[in-house]
């Protein structure tokens, strides 16, 4: 009797492992339009309203818990901000002096903030679910193909770029964030404009890496990055030009490397946002 139980237990375990491995290899190799992905989208559509309802109902509890966490963090933040404030006061004096010069340079560069998103329609969506691991930086939003959202549409918050739509159902869409390991965004450093590719550092949502910047280019802390919107074959971008991404925190030149690796902090808080804007359509 006991042996029979052991045999049954092992058979169940082996069967489940085999099914998991089959699903994994099929799902990994299958095209986005394949049957497994279609079933996934169907399941996600059914559960979408439930997730949305649960998210809305539990928002006050979630906000309360996050408030405690933020208050705890704010103690350390306060000291840092005091130092930053005194630094900024002296910077302000310098800034006023260069403001007129800056305006002149902006005209010369013909750069306008968000110029690239003209012609796009903005669909405001709420985040209804989030991936629990750092390996998949994805969120689910409550607008899908019926609202005009399409695969590869750029997604932004008020602070800047956060990712792109990677999949859609009728009522919801999956957004792959710029901190996901599959993400790569061609970007330009302001004001001079060396081009590079922004990639994430898996596990650290506050740090992005800008690759393919020649080692002789001078990059300084605080310089801002925007999407390049390039259509060149090696740095092709899905994103329109001019969407803010982040600012440079440091630049490393590795020994024997011809490129320098620039670290940047994203403008958008990629761990804490409730609403996003999907840029749909775009100029013809």
């Amino acid at each position: 009797m006991y042996r029979k139980q052991v045999r049954r237990r092992r058979a169940v375990l082996v069967a489940l492992v085999i099914v998991s491995l089959i699903l994994l290899s099929l799902s990994f190799s299958e095209a986005e339009s394949g049957p497994i992905h279609s079933i996934q989208r169907g399941v996600a559509s059914v559960f979408g309203p439930i997730e949305e309802g649960a998210g809305r109902a539990l928002k006050p509890v979630r906000d309360l818990i996050n408030w405690f966490d933020e208050t705890f963090d704010a103690r350390g933040e306060n000291d840092r901000l005091q130092d930053e404030l005194s630094e900024l006061r002296s910077d302000q004096i310098d800034a006023e002096a260069v403001q007129s010069e800056n305006e002149e340079l902006r005209k010369a560069l013909d750069f306008k903030t968000n110029a690239g998103i003209q012609g796009y329609e903005q669909v405001t969506s709420r985040v209804i679910a989030r991936s629990p691991t750092v390996w998949y930086s994805q969120v689910t939003i409550d607008q899908g193909s019926s609202a005009g959202v399409e695969r590869d549409d750029p997604v932004v918050t008020g602070d800047g770029l956060i990712g792109k739509v990677s999949d859609t159902t009728a009522g919801q869409a999956q957004v792959t964030l710029i901190t996901d390991h599959r993400s790569a965004v061609s970007a330009r450093i302001l004001p001079e404009g060396p081009l590079g590719v922004v990639k994430p550092e898996v596990g650290d949502p506050d740090d992005l890496l800008l690759d393919f910047i020649q080692e002789d280019r001078e990059i300084s802390r605080g310089q801002r990055l925007v999407t390049a919107g390039s259509t060149a074959s090696d740095l092709e971008s899905l994103f329109p030009p001019g969407i803010p991404i982040g600012e440079v925190t440091k630049a490393d030149i590795q020994a024997q490397d011809t490129y320098q690796q620039v670290h940047l902090k994203p403008f958008a808080d990629l761990r804490d946002f409730d609403y996003v804007q999907v840029l749909t359509g775009g100029p013809e």
């Binding site: 998991s20 559960f47 989030r130 691991t133 596990g203």
Partner: protein, 185 residues
């Protein structure tokens, strides 16, 4: 554990509720720089209460549903959570739970194992970006939070599954018998 259709229904509801809460509530909470993962906690609780087969089947279902809802590569979470649930069940079948500390400590250890296994699978599937050492911190914090979550969740799962639990039924029977004896006296 005696699995009747009513118990299976309770387990199915528990799994659905667990996944929905994870995606729309727990994943959006930030504690100690990470977000708690309730899925290994549920898999361990079901394994500890139901044994290896129940743990493995429920872990598989939890993972499959999570991957489906997030449109992620199917099978990754399933294989991790079925292993976690099965190991918890094997613990239950091999050792007695003599202390109330066993479920949270075992949950923390198996969550650590599960998160490491998840990371290893991701690396095998190919990660196209550098991996920060902060991933290690994330795994450790998630394991600690899982251990803490097990303190309320294990008794809750036990309450949900009470009609199916042989130990609880025996204990309940003894209690009823002793009450009858007291009344008779």
């Amino acid at each position: 554990m005696i699995v009747t259709w009513q118990v299976a229904l309770r387990v199915a509801i528990l799994i659905l509720l667990g996944v929905v809460l994870q995606l729309s509530f727990f994943s959006e909470i930030e504690l100690l720089g990470s977000s708690p993962d309730v899925l290994p906690v549920i898999a361990v609780a079901l394994g500890l209460l139901g044994g290896g087969v129940v743990g493995a089947v429920c872990g598989f279902a939890l993972g499959l549903l999570t991957d489906s809802l997030l449109l992620q590569t199917l099978g990754v979470s399933s294989i991790v959570l079925l292993t976690v649930g099965y190991l918890a069940g094997r613990w239950r079948e091999s050792f007695d739970i003599t202390s109330a500390l066993v479920p949270p400590l075992l949950t923390a250890a198996l969550a650590l194992f599960g998160a490491t296994m998840f990371a290893a699978i991701q690396l095998m599937l190919g990660v196209e970006a550098p991996v920060s050492l902060l991933v290690v911190r994330e795994i450790i914090v998630k394991a600690l939070l899982a251990g803490l979550l097990a303190i309320p969740i294990y008794p809750l799962v036990r309450i949900v599954l009470r009609p199916a639990l042989v130990d609880d039924a025996r204990r309940g029977g003894r209690r009823r018998r002793s009450l009858i004896q007291i009344r008779a006296a």
